[in-house]
Subunit: 126 residues, 2 copies
């Protein structure tokens, strides 16, 4: 079964903002070549979640994990995002859609942020 | 010399949004007990950067690393945040203020996000 990960981020007016999301997609495809990894955005940038899911289903993907590339579970992740995922699931009953928690809620991600902060602090010392 | 890390995040209306930022501050203080780690927010939540820096300087801190807990270098990090850090530095000439890049631009953080996504994808398999 062909699987995919949609990296669903907020989006911003500045095109450079999408850089880390695109690098994360490339990293996932290099780590897991059988898995398709695609960015999608809530605002300001394209594709939106609908377009990203429709394209993956058209390519034959039958299982999609939606990973919110958000720091925390705020209003967007409590309301808009589950609704959009549910709507996409209704439109594609032959594809399984799963919504993960926000990346920033994961302990490994927080630990990596902590490593980064302490490395930067030490870099300027002495 | 007493050092501190200010974890500068966007903020949101939902109080739960600050959870990962507060957990990251606690993690840093447990990993580096000599370093003070404090959250600060651009919008919606308190303290703002000024209040966090003023309080740390009043406590005797003379070197502060400001770590943007943002996914990417968008408009806020190109304009508002450097201006706020520069203004705080002018107000406290006896304290060194350094601005790091956004946590989401760091390869370790992206790798941890990738680990999280692949673990979640595998968790639902089979």
């Amino acid at each position: 079964m062909t699987e995919a990960i949609v990296l669903f981020a907020h989006g911003a007016r500045d095109p450079e903002w999408a850089g880390p999301v695109r690098r994360l997609a490339a990293l996932l495809e290099s780590r897991a070549p059988a898995v398709r990894a695609r960015p999608a955005f809530l605002e300001f940038m394209t594709p939106d979640l609908d377009a990203a899911v429709d394209e993956l289903v058209a390519e034959g993907v039958r299982r999609i994990l939606v990973v919110p590339v958000f720091l925390a579970q705020g209003g967007h992740l409590k309301r808009d995002v589950p609704q959009q995922v549910a709507a996409a699931a209704r439109r594609h009953p032959d594809c399984s859609l799963i919504l993960a928690k926000a990346v920033g809620e994961d302990d490994r991600v927080l630990a990596a942020m902590g490593e980064f902060a302490l490395t930067e602090l030490a870099a300027g010392d002495g």
